[in-house]
């Protein structure tokens, strides 16, 4: 470029190649919204405080340092690149010169510094914002393994955690199927329900919160929108359950990646599932942490301190509580979800994260790869248990889903880990009986599932409980108590504890009550009877409530949009250059329309949408017939860029600007012929 040294930033930008402008817009995407009309407008926008602040936020410590040196040196007069780099490297050491030069070049590209290599100036508005930048650490923080693990060990740990995470979600939602917690008016889960879920999962606050939030993010549980709303498992949960474990896992982790909350940042005072905790920066920060783990050598774990150190170097201006919390939460959550093992990224995790940044078409293929990696690391499920005389049942390893659900009905979980300890009790057997099992079925399933003989005390316990179960029956509709044994009823009538129920003897074997059946059952049970509900035709009513379901909310649009769309940037650059020509050449006020007109057929809006999508995908210009605000229809050639929310963003050849078209007002579209495209 044999031009005079630029006199201003606008002048500098005007001298830059279109590619260079494209790079500027890519790295400072806020300049694109909306697309400025010409370079003067772009310059104004690029030198505003907020835009500069956003740009500085994305810079690393070295860049900021060089920029600060540049602002100091160019406060009164321009300085040469050598002078700036020399001064910047002075405090760091001679080995920093190359890096400082690269940083300076980059700062020029970012339009924070302008001019020629002999005469550089920093944008004025930058000065205040970098005045307090400290001298960075040198040499810079690099990725070092804090510990090196065997990859197979990492994968095994991760796979076990992944399986445990799936089991937790299953256990939570099975509990909530029968007894969904209500939704607070403010939108979250009540502390009491959170505490009881934590207890039921044998977990702690942080991990239980993670399970609940992830299940919700994956649309497995949702608001049922009833009059008194509850968190109810969705129909999608049933679909999810039917999938193989690896697919269930991919779904959970994908949902987690997009979650706007720190799922595991919880204690006994946290309102889980509340949108108050949403922060839009979280998915980006979380992804940065995961990307660092992926960038580390295979099998290498990174410590919390190390990750924070690197992030502090890469984006010092973003350092803060939220980032520190995100790093901490992400490390814990990635471990719990089985993305990492022993602090290092697992093979399956690496594949999954890589697949999510690739084009959508590749994802199905990658999912298969992820599943293979995960399955290879998973030890076999255990399908048998040991039953002991002290009425504990022990699964000495990860239990398959089906026996696990059976045992959760027949027994209570006493301790959890990779193995599970269940305790069977009168209460738990009664629960199974209430759910429609009988003694024979319980004996059979235990004998089947146990690798050792069922101990005699357990056999007795089951028979005793079954024998007593249902000998007292309680009517729902009439509020009666019926029992074949008159003495039992005499006892019940005489029982002082049951006085509040207002019992009166109807016949030798029947009592009626003033209380509803549910209350009757509760009181009788508390008094030591073992009542069962009875249907009008005399059968024992199976008391287990139906599993409740609600509709899953619609899946959000996949938010993997790349930071800047190439098409938009290209069009914006063309628009800028054209606008600039217009502004500088003082062209005539009237813009001439296209030379030739085509006969545009009227099309339905569906047909128009299809044509527009095709044109965007093929990156081809087309004719569009468009009704203006005054109702007159014009025809123009546009390069369609983006179609969203019924609005087409396109480069208009006539005005040489990027503008928006409402699809509703488009009367028709047609492809261009070859010579028109060239022209």
């Amino acid at each position: 470029m044999a031009m005079a040294a630029p006199r201003s930033l606008a002048d500098d930008l005007r001298q830059r190649e279109p590619e260079s402008l494209g790079r500027l817009l890519r790295r400072r995407p806020d300049l694109l919204h909306p697309v400025p009309t010409d370079l003067t407008a772009l310059t104004t926008r690029a030198t505003t405080g907020p835009s500069i602040a956003r740009c500085l936020d994305s810079l690393d410590a070295l860049h900021l340092h060089v920029l600060r040196v540049a602002t100091t040196l160019t406060a009164h007069d321009a300085a040469s690149a050598e002078a700036i780099v020399g001064e910047a490297a002075e405090t760091l050491g001679p080995d920093a010169i190359d890096d400082c030069m690269l940083a300076l070049t980059d700062l020029v590209e970012a339009a924070l510094i302008w001019g020629t290599p002999h005469q550089l100036r920093a944008v004025h508005a930058v000065r205040d914002q970098v005045a307090a930048v400290p001298v960075p650490r040198w040499p810079r923080a690099t990725l070092r393994a804090s510990e090196q693990h065997d990859l197979s060990d990492v994968d095994e740990r991760a796979a076990l955690s992944a399986r445990a995470a799936l089991a937790q979600v299953r256990d939570l939602l099975d509990d909530w199927s029968a007894d969904p917690p209500s939704i607070l008016r403010s939108g979250g889960l009540s502390l009491r329900d959170f505490a009881s879920a934590t207890r039921a999962l044998h977990s702690d606050w942080r991990r239980a919160s993670l399970t609940i939030e992830v299940a919700h993010a994956a649309r497995l549980v949702a608001d049922d929108h009833e009059e008194s709303p509850h968190w109810v498992p969705t129909d999608h949960y049933d679909v999810w359950l039917s999938r193989p474990p690896a697919e269930q896992w991919i779904e959970l982790v994908t949902a987690w990646l997009g979650l706007n909350r720190l799922a595991s940042l919880a204690d006994e005072k946290t309102q889980v599932l509340s949108t108050d905790r949403d922060r839009r920066a979280i998915p980006v920060l979380r992804r940065q942490v995961l990307d660092l783990l992926c960038a580390a050598p295979s099998g290498a774990s990174l410590s919390l301190e190390q990750i924070i150190e690197i992030l502090d170097d890469r984006q010092p201006r973003r350092a803060g509580d939220l980032r520190a919390l995100t790093v901490d939460a992400t490390l814990l959550e990635a471990t719990e979800l089985g993305l990492t093992g022993a602090g290092a990224m697992s093979t399956a995790g690496r594949l999954l994260l890589a697949s999510l940044t690739g084009p959508p078409a590749d994802r199905r293929l990658s999912a298969a790869e992820v599943a293979t990696a995960l399955n290879a690391a998973l030890p076999d499920d255990i399908d048998h248990v040991l039953i002991q005389a002290d009425l504990t049942i022990i699964a000495p390893g990860p239990l398959a889903a089906s026996p696990s659900r059976t045992l959760r009905l027949l027994a209570d979980v006493e301790s959890r880990g990779h193995a599970t300890v269940f305790r069977i009790s009168e209460g738990s057997i009664r629960r199974a009986l209430d759910a429609g099992w009988d003694a024979a079925a319980i004996h059979a399933v235990l004998a089947d599932i146990s690798s050792t003989p069922v101990p005699q005390p357990l056999t007795y316990l089951i028979d005793d409980t079954a024998r007593r179960h249902g000998t007292v029956r309680v009517g729902n509709a009439l509020g009666y108590i019926r029992c074949d044994n008159p003495e039992t009823l005499s006892a019940a009538v005489a029982d002082r504890r049951l006085r509040s129920l207002g019992l009166s003897r109807l016949a030798d074997t029947v009592i009626i009550s003033q209380s509803p059946a549910a209350e009757l059952i509760e009181e009788l049970r508390a008094a030591g009877y073992a009542p069962a509900a009875e249907s009008p035709d005399g059968d024992i009513v199976i008391r287990r409530p139906e599993d409740r379901r609600t509709a899953a909310p619609r899946a959000g649009t996949v938010t993997t949009r790349r930071m800047t769309e190439d098409a938009l940037v290209d069009a914006a650059v063309r628009s800028l250059l054209a606008g600039d020509r217009a502004a500088t050449e003082q062209r005539g006020a009237t813009v001439v329309g296209p030379a030739s007109k085509v006969d545009l057929p009227s099309l339905s809006s569906a047909a128009i949408l299809t044509a527009l999508r095709t044109a965007i995908a093929d990156n081809r210009p087309l004719w569009i017939g468009y009704a203006d605000t005054d109702g007159s229809v014009t025809q123009q050639i546009v390069d369609p860029i983006r179609l969203a929310g019924g609005v087409l963003t396109a480069f208009d050849h006539r005005t040489e600007q990027v503008r928006s078209f409402s699809v509703a007002r488009a009367t028709g579209v047609a492809p261009l012929t070859t010579d028109e495209t060239d022209g």
Partner: protein, 545 residues
């Protein structure tokens, strides 16, 4: 390893024994049923291990080596952090300032000084990491520090006490290897608790400890009968003579070089004070032995806090306290110094194998009615003393004609009735001590074959020849009572025959619920109950094995 810090040990695994030995120092055996034993990692257990010289690295290494699945990293970190808390503070003797609390880490001292419970127990600050301790607060301080999670290591040492020669009658008998190990474990640790099953010879561990201490000894036991048995045992096993052993009980108030006092007399309260606690100060004791430490009453705890400069040995069959004061035992008596599961000692032949049987009786319909209409507080009594139990007890006694049988119960009228039916003498709290001793002696000699006893016989009554115990009622759901009662019949028999322990329970009543709770401890120790219907025994469908 589970997320709640329990360890599951597969008993049938080839490495099970090796692994059990490796984890025993730091993990507490919680239950030991037939296939999988459960151990628990608790702060107390880990501190016990630290006190015994194990470090976190060893513990973690053991966990990693024997775990079938990878151990969660967070748990390992937690183990390391918990263990590192022990010994950051030390109670020691300062050459100038006397008893001081010293911190390796001054910030820990800062933290505990800020606690309202600890500050009043301490004196002036000597420097950053040292603060003076009032000698009388040594125990209270340790108690408070354990509660704060910073257990102090007590290296201030002990006073030797008044010397008194005590030897074992080595030419007549030898202690069993585990008894020697237990006594030495205690001695090297300074103070602490030895856990041995009933019938495993805890008295002998006491005697061995006395022989190591060679000093005047105060022995605290549960009741007078136990006191007499300690005396007899000491006379038989050691060089002590009758003149050297004193009894301090309701009946006698002797203070001798070896004094045996009962909890009951020590905790007698008059006008708001405990006049007999002065026994602690009456001599310059070199050793204090607490028998049945799991029953140690609260006033004794309080007083024990004041005598931390004396060596203390706790003896017990179980650290389970129904009141949950295990932490006080740890800080005031000392860490656990020796532990052997019941089944292990049984396997070595030192205690008799036992056959535990739950016999279920059914209430007749008329009684069922009475039961149903009874007030809740009367229900246990009604069901536990069901008349049906008399018949079946008689029947069981008849099946064991060749054995000596103890019938144990809670309710005096039930016991009286049983005595009448079985034509057997009855011993209750009201029976004079002389009469009790006479009857026990007759039982030992075989002149009396069946004894009906109340809960006075729960503890420390040595009846080696009892081979059958029939429990008809108990103190509700007390687990340690069940263990004690089983212990009555576990002394090894001369002919090596198995012991029988029957628990007679009324079906479908609170009696059965309590029985289940009581049995849990023994089931967890590997004793499994068989269940038999009383009807089957009456019908002759069942034979004594």
């Amino acid at each position: 390893m589970q997320s709640d810090k329990t360890l599951l040990l597969e008993v049938d695994h080839a490495q099970a024994t090796e692994c059990r030995k490796a984890i025993a120092p730091f993990a507490e055996l919680e239950r030991a049923p037939e296939h999988i034993h459960t151990y628990r990692l608790t702060p107390l257990g880990l501190w016990n291990a630290r006190a015994a010289g194990h470090d976190a690295e060893q513990v973690i290494d053991t966990l990693l080596r024997y775990s079938r699945y990878p151990v969660p990293h967070a748990l390992l970190v937690d183990v390391a952090e918990t263990m590192a808390r022990y010994g950051r503070l030390q109670v020691s003797n300062h050459p100038v300032h006397g008893l001081v609390l010293q911190a390796i880490d001054p910030s820990v001292l800062e933290e505990v000084l800020r606690s309202k419970k600890v500050a009043p127990l301490l004196g002036a600050r000597v420097d950053d990491s040292t603060v003076i301790v009032h000698p009388s607060e040594r125990g209270h301080l340790k108690q408070a520090l354990v509660k704060l999670g910073w257990p102090a290591e007590d290296v201030a040492g002990y006073v030797d006490g008044e010397r008194h020669a005590i030897g074992l009658q080595a030419e007549l008998w030898q202690p069993r290897p585990y008894q020697t190990e237990a006594a030495e474990g205690f001695w090297h640790g300074g103070s602490g608790v030895v856990v041995l099953p009933c019938g495993a010879g805890k008295t002998i561990v006491g005697a061995a400890a006395m022989a190591l201490a060679q000093a005047t000894t105060l022995i605290l036991v549960t009741n007078t009968v136990a006191a007499r048995q300690w005396r007899d045992e000491l006379l038989r096993r050691t060089t002590l003579t009758a003149d050297e052993i004193g009894e301090y009980s309701g009946a006698k108030k002797e203070i001798r070089p070896v004094t045996i006092a009962t909890y009951q007399v020590m905790t007698t309260k008059r006008q708001g004070i405990y006049p007999h606690l002065e026994v602690f100060d009456s001599r310059d004791w070199g050793l204090i032995i607490y028998d049945e430490v799991h029953l140690l009453p609260a006033p004794i705890f309080r007083f024990t806090a004041d005598i931390q400069s004396r060596r203390r040995l706790g003896l017990t069959a179980t650290l389970v306290r129904e009141d949950g004061r295990e932490g006080d035992v740890f800080s005031l008596i000392g860490p656990k110094r020796y532990d052997a599961p019941w089944k292990d000692i049984e396997a070595q032949g030192y205690i008799a194998p036992a056959d535990c049987i739950e016999v279920r009786v059914t209430l007749p319909d008329s009684d069922r009615m009475t039961y149903a209409m009874a007030e809740p507080e009367d229900r246990y009594r009604l069901s536990a003393s069901a008349p049906e139990k008399l018949r079946i007890t008689e029947e069981i006694v008849r099946r064991h004609v060749d054995d000596r049988v103890l019938v144990i119960g809670q309710y005096l009228d039930q016991l009286a009735e049983l005595g009448e039916h079985l034509d057997a003498p009855v011993i209750t709290g009201a029976t004079p001590v002389r009469e009790r001793e006479r009857l026990f002696a007759a039982f030992r000699d075989g002149d009396v074959r069946v004894l009906v006893v109340s809960k006075v016989a729960n503890f420390s009554v040595d009846l080696p020849e009892a081979g059958v115990a029939i429990q008809v009622s108990g103190t509700f759901g007390s687990r340690q009572e069940e263990a004690q009662r089983l212990g009555r019949v576990l002394r090894p028999k001369e002919d090596g025959r198995a012991a029988h322990f029957y628990s007679v329970v009324t079906r479908d009543t609170v009696d059965a619920d309590f029985a289940q709770h009581r049995q849990r401890f023994l089931a967890e120790q590997g004793y499994s109950y068989r269940i038999i219907d009383a009807e089957d025994i009456h019908a002759g469908k069942w034979e004594v094995s």
